[in-house]
Amino acid sequence: MKFSINGRFIQEEPAPGQCLRTFLREQGCQGVKKGCDTGDCGACTVWIDGTPFHSCLMPAFRAAGREITTIEGLQQNGELHPMQQAFLDAQAFQCGFCAAGMIMTAATFDEKAREDLPHMLKGNLCRCTGYGSIHDALHGIKAAEDDVAGHACGASLKSPFAEAIVTGKARYTLDAVPQKPLHLKVLRSPHAHARIRTIHRGEAIAVPGVVAIFTWEDVPRRLYSTATHEDHLVDPDDTYMLDNVVRFVGQRVAAVVADSEGAAEAAARLIDVDYEILPAVFDPVEAMKPDAPILHQTGLESRGNIYVDIHGEIGNVAAGFEEADVIHEKTYSTSRVQHAHLETHGSIAWKGEDGRVHVRTSSQAPFIAKQKLCHLFGLLDRDVHVFTERIGGGFGGKQEMISEDLCVLAALKTERPVMWEFTREEQFIGATTRHPMTTRVKLGARRDGTLTAIEVHVVSNTGAYGGHGSETLAAALSSPLAAYRCPNKKADGYAVYTNMVPAGGFRGYGASQTTFAIECAIDDLAKKLGVGPFEIRRKNMIRSDDWIESVWKDATDVTFGSYGLDQCLDLVEASLASGRGLAKPDGDDWVEGSGIALAMLESGPPTEHRSGAVMALLPDGTYHLAVGSTEMGNGSATAHRQIAAEILATRADRIALINGDTDLTPYDTGTFASTGTVVAGQAVALTATALRDNIFSYAARYFGCNAADLSLHDDAIICANQTVPLRELVARGAATGHRFEAKRKAYLSPRSVGFNVQGIRAAVHRVTGQIAILQSVHAADIGKLINPMQCRGQIDGAIGMGLGWALYEKMVYNDKGAMVNASLRDYRIPTFADLPRSEIYFADTYDSVGPLGAKAQGECAINAVAPAVANAVANATGVRFPDLPLTPDRIFEKLGRCHGRTSKLSP
């Protein structure tokens, strides 16, 4: 068959059932992405004869004889297409994995289409941006500022990868594959709990192209946790790479490697497994009962399925409730949701000519992954190299080692490169999720609204394995309670094993779940007391001179490097009162209300976290910066360059950057727990400062002046009225053996705190249960903004993800523990049509702890969103909906009863 791809003619025979997406990637068009492979996300959009199609749904043979255009072919005569330029100007992406498909879709729009973006963009999903910057791009709004020497910090500079992203050249994990790799596919358990009696692989191994099949009998019998933390002891060693007991539907049973994905899939279907079905338990409360089936026989069976329990009390809550005039007690619950980063998990492993194992992976923590691989395979640290290039989103989902191990196993056993790309279905059934938590909140208050006691009881469903179970529970019991000053606080938390897919790290990390419960309860209490939501919060919220404590008396390293919660409340209150936003839709059945919620989060985790950077001044007078942390669209690489550029008084684009590579960059615990700016960024700040001092100390000798009289500007060093280009200085220094290099490490202590307040005005239709968000306003106290555009973008994205959690998303299971909506078609993350434009404000603060006055911001913004929505709905309807998500059918079930609407309109 003959094809024309971006004007190039080729003759090729695609496989009969091959889709155009993979065919184009084989022809070198790596800009054609896979987000879902089912026509729901649009990341693979290409043009055929000028018309846009989802190339994953298009049989390759249908494109024969036609003209195919991919993102790589959009440029004309070396000039960006206007839509590429618009996405560049608005920086309308974060991880960038959706950008090529977005651009290929939007570039076909005429004026009329542009006026109906909700419809026109419903086939393009973005999980990072909340679509705000995409809206800007489509309206020609330029957000990126110029890169000016001496003004790096606080400027809205472009991502260093921006041009590569809009042209499809950015290389994500599986965009660079060694020659003739083997493809790995996994057979997953159909049962929630079973013991494997036998596995017969005879028929499977006979499939042509199959090279090897691995089962629990072939892997090192070594326990570990897939969760990644600096301190490996905070997660339980309860997992085998492959096990003879399966504890959830979707657990890995066997791995097949073959010359093609098709052969590996065919073999996986033919593996004959004899299971002894064991009783299963899905609900954590049931799992805590004495007669529940026990999941793990690790010597702690006497504790039943409780993986961890955490307790604490300050003051005396019993006395506090005695003192109270009003007591509110209610149970609130959150649902199981998935990160749905557009780039699925995946890795490639091979043994190099150097005899070492190399792993290219989509991970938030390549250094920890490396340690775990050394542990599992008994390899020396020096014999393993793990690296990331561009990562298509993480949100905590990639704070896990769940693809690297099997690739390394197979690469070591077969001596061939091995790659494994998760399907979207595997993301849902075989990766991690947010921990669903059920939280009973009891609040006591005096008539004037002063809290006298706070008590919470949390049950967290950690699923079949306990990774992140204890840390998310600790987080759940920490900042959401510390946000309120009250002499008597008590918390009891349980993280419980069940036969469900394991939960893991997810933006907000446990604090989101109890923030939902507590912020709803505060509103419910306020209603009972007859005080307003702002008033009750102002009366009881933590203040800058307060001791920061949750339910433990021990001193902590958390401190107020700055405080802006008061400003955040003022900003949101003023905006909600302004009358901005949409008007309530017409009709008596729409009722309107508003709600707020606040959230506090420590800037960085309580567990150890460290990072390092190395920086050099190069012979051409530019800089090179190596940072261990990975960049997954969170923008830390952009921030790192700006921090270094600010300190060196140069332009960001004079700093070349590499990150996330265990060979080429210093150690970094990982990009998670909102550490990209406050830990890795701190390492960059320390390193850039050390390099500046290094340059000054040499230059002082060169000029024969005091270091204090020197300054840097752009590409030169200045002493009094003498300006010398840096390349000259380097040449001179090199001649005398001076090295312009510096390396520093950062460790996080003390930790500051950030704040977020979300306001929502919503209308609820009392008959259809539909919720319309009329106004969304967010105020954040994140210290100095290193890159305002990026800070805004990340908050926009967190609001979008929070609205998805509040309104739409829920992983649904049948009574056998199997997920029934394991696709982006049935598990709906927000589309352009689903999200409002949010007003975003920042408190005017400068942090004394974080680098250049900045605080952490990656996670906290999501925490206040769902409770603000729930509070607005409660305010509008007079009915509390304590369980997420607030889908129209669930609103109806309850409102129908409360208002008697069904009896009037139904038979």
Partner: protein, 274 residues
């Protein structure tokens, strides 16, 4: 996605070229569903596009839509002015979760033959009193009313190898006034319910889809009052027929059926009085 079990593509120029039908064969029209999920029991795809059926043929009798007509072609159809119900073409396409890019490939016949409750081309053709022409293997073509084609969730009257050839929408139905109501759990998401009412010479045809496992249609000789409507819905749609899935609970869909049906009735009544 790649369908790795497919070993052959047949591209006949006439359906008769496909002789004996066997397990493992599948017709492919747009392929937008086939390529969205593994097809492990299928080894051969038989291309309908190579049959070259004209997409849309309008006549005084009505509109003949080939099964292979894409949704994009349908939405672009320039209907005669007297076909007052033609705006439903686009409204029903917009009721799908699928994006306009999927419309460029997906076909009317494919949507109908998938026979999902939310298949809104079923809503369209049922509400416009369509008649499907089916081509069985080795037998004479037969005609089936649209409303009787789907028998349950993902179930229909097609026998193995039997083809949906075309859909006839009668001019009489196309010329009717209509009212349309729809809801989904997300904005522009998969339909939880579609209620379409059409009015000709005083009679009302009310079609409920998406909320139920199969289409339900009620003919009223004249516009009913609210009570009569409710009674008819009660009599015609059993509670068990409401479809429960992640896109809406059965009780919610039942509730909206009554609510929207009444709105449709009221809107059409108002139109009749003007």
């Amino acid at each position: 996605m790649n369908l790795n079990t497919i070993t052959a593509i047949k591209r006949p120029t006439s359906a008769d070229e496909i002789g004996e039908w066997r397990d493992g064969y599948a017709w492919i029209a747009g392929g937008t569903w086939l390529f969205s999920t593994p097809q492990v029991r299928t080894d051969t795809l038989i291309d309908l596009q190579s049959l070259g059926w004209p997409a849309l043929q309008a006549s005084d009798d009505g509109l003949e839509i080939a099964a292979t007509c894409t949704l994009a072609e349908l939405t672009r159809f320039n209907a005669p002015q007297e076909w007052k119900a033609a705006p439903l073409f686009k409204m029903c396409c917009e009721s799908l979760l699928a994006s306009f890019k999927v419309w460029n490939a997906a076909t009317v016949g494919g949507n109908i033959c998938m026979s999902l409750p939310a298949g809104s081309l079923i809503s369209l053709t049922a509400s416009l009193e369509g008649v499907y022409t089916l081509w069985p293997r080795g037998a004479e073509p037969r005609k089936v009313p649209a409303v009787a084609f789907v028998t349950g969730n993902n179930k229909n009257v097609l026998r193995p190898g039997e083809l949906l050839r075309s859909i006839h929408l009668p001019a009489k139905a196309l010329s009717k006034r209509f009212a349309f109501r729809r809801a989904s759990l997300t904005h522009l998401g998969r339909s939880a319910i579609i209620v379409i009412g059409t009015v000709g010479a005083g009679d009302l045809v009310l079609t409920v889809t998406a909320a139920t496992e199969r289409p339900f249609q009620i003919h009223f000789e004249r516009l009913p009052d609210e009570y009569t409507l409710r009674k008819a819905l009660n009599a015609v749609i059993p509670d068990a027929a409401y479809f429960n899935d992640v896109h809406g609970s059965a009780s919610y869909k039942r509730h909206l059926t009554y609510y929207f049906a009444e709105q449709v009735r009221a809107e059409l009544l108002q139109g009749a009085q003007q």
